[in-house]
Symmetry: C2
Subunit: 334 residues, 2 copies
């Protein structure tokens, strides 16, 4: 039996394009210390990793925990990672390529470190503590500027031979559709992300069909954020609601393809769009998905909004560290 | 150490719509006895299960193995199964619904029985012994009258909470496309299966563009089998080749969606179409898939033809029995 003295302590660190969040958890995953810092990606890799180290140190100080008491650190990255080697393969928003992050943090803290994709971390967080608890197959989809996806299958994050997968944002939904940032055409992401919605809404505003949008932001699509869309819908901009519902329907048909392939019992939706208008969005996705699956799949899945919000990622990071290092420990013991 | 005397013996039984194949394997999966029988589904469930029992008995006799020496039996079924409960949920070609097959065969042979989907069995066979050996993620696709799919991930057959999944034949490739047997529109299967090809080829024959087809079968699509298509292409029916290549390209774009989601390292193609024209078909699927994935996925996968032909299913059944019952044994021992 472990006493509180030697109970495990896990640290999660969720790195985003604009901010990072470090949280220290006790063995029951109660947060006991946290620190939020700006990412400042433009200042370069060394600066960002130094701030990451600082965020973890200050969260540990708040928790009154010495670094050598930490059982493991999990770090979520906005991009593909090689989990085996602990390398960030790419993080476009940070201009990172092949950064050996696990080694770097291990050296600093002398504790085991695992890196994972941030969307995978979010889905794993919802699987362990949130809306997808104890699902056999939990599919997570986070529509935002892009559309990220992750899948926890039988307690494991599904990944490819070298890196994270579940790139649901780039499955094709429209043959010869709009050009996507990835170079392909008609990807889900280019047809149905928050950015796709903003583009269509801006055109509607230009045509005089979305007066609230025109008043709030004008036609500048960078400013048409999820909260703005929700406000316009609440104020009665019918066209904005139609545009959001259409994008949710397109996502629903992509969800149907995932249901046919993976038969998830729960599909968790998260991210800005969903948080700004959970009912309208989740309901539209669910009904479109149900219409687009074979009859035998109709009742096999639920579509729900995430429960943990911003904490999904950082909790998932810490819990994945637990999963990774407890398993290794157990294997080493036998 | 096990001696030959008490080494494991595994039995595979692959049930198809028209024929069934039972094979007895030694512990190294060398076949030591086999029996092929017609299915005769029209004679009803009892008749079919009696023939299944007979096939296993006669294969055991050929192998000179007493039933009580068998460590486990794996049975592949053309339809969804509940593997936990050993129930065949549905087998459309046999008019089966909720048949408790594992219990029934256990009673007969007094040995452990596992039932699985036949496509899953085929992919597992190729994973263990054939073209997908030691893949981390092996995706198998079997285009025929329909298009079946299966996926082995990290040594496990991916399945849903209740039953088998990987219904790649019913992911949408054509919004508002042709009507599919499942009731949806534009499913991969209705746009690109052997049946879809036969429909298009029959029209070409009717128009006088496929003289060899006209000579071999006329416009009766039930007769336009894979071997006929291959013969017409070899004889110079250019339009037939174009139609087959187009269907392979459509399959390739569906493969691309699977690559984005699951990042398989190997995609194994099997079934009649592939066996009749492996090079033309595999090459067309591979190049279409490569064009339809994001740049970072281009080099992550190989597309290959299966190596085991008809034996993939029955070997997969037997090997899945080994995997299932050896694991249970090991767990019980610790």
């Amino acid at each position: 039996m472990s006493t509180v003295e030697n109970a495990n302590i896990w640290v999660g660190l969720d790195l985003g394009g604009t901010k990072m969040l470090a949280t220290v958890y006790d063995a029951e995953f109660k947060p006991v210390g946290r620190k939020r810092l700006k990412t400042k990606g433009a200042e370069g890799t060394d600066s960002v990793t130094n701030r990451m180290i600082r965020a973890v140190r200050e969260a540990l100080e708040e928790a009154k925990v010495e670094p050598d008491r930490v059982s493991g650190i999990g770090v979520g990255i906005p991009g593909p990672v090689d989990q085996e080697k602990g390398i960030v393969l790419e993080a476009v928003n940070l201009s990172w390529e092949n950064v050996p992050l696990a080694k770097l943090l291990q050296k600093e803290f002398d504790r085991p470190v695992v890196v994972l994709n941030d969307v995978d971390a979010g889905v794993y967080g919802e699987y362990r503590f949130g809306a997808a608890k104890s699902a056999r197959t939990a599919l997570g989809i986070f529509p935002g500027t892009g559309i990220g996806g992750g899948c926890v299958y039988d307690g494991q994050i599904i990944r490819g031979k070298r890196n994270s997968c579940m790139e649901i944002g780039h499955i094709s939904v429209m043959p010869d559709g709009q050009l996507c940032g990835c170079g392909l055409r008609g990807c889900l992401e280019t047809e149905a992300s928050r950015l796709a919605i903003a583009g269509e809404v801006a055109k509607a505003a230009f045509r005089g069909e979305a007066p609230t949008i025109m008043k709030l932001t004008g036609t500048k699509i960078a400013d048409i954020r999820s909260s703005v869309l929700a406000e316009a819908i609440a104020a009665g901009d019918k066209v904005v609601e139609q545009i959001v519902r259409r994008s949710a329907r397109i996502l629903g048909t992509a969800v149907a393809s995932c249901v046919h392939l993976l038969c998830p019992d729960i599909i968790v939706l998260g991210g800005g769009l969903v948080e700004a208008m959970p009912e309208l969005y989740v309901e539209s996705v669910a009904s479109a998905a149900r219409k687009a699956v074979m009859p035998s799949f109709t009742d096999t899945f639920k579509v729900v909004a995430g429960k943990l919000g911003d904490d999904a990622g950082v909790m998932g990071c810490a819990a994945w560290a637990e999963k990774t290092f407890i398993t290794r420990q157990t294997k080493a013991d036998t």
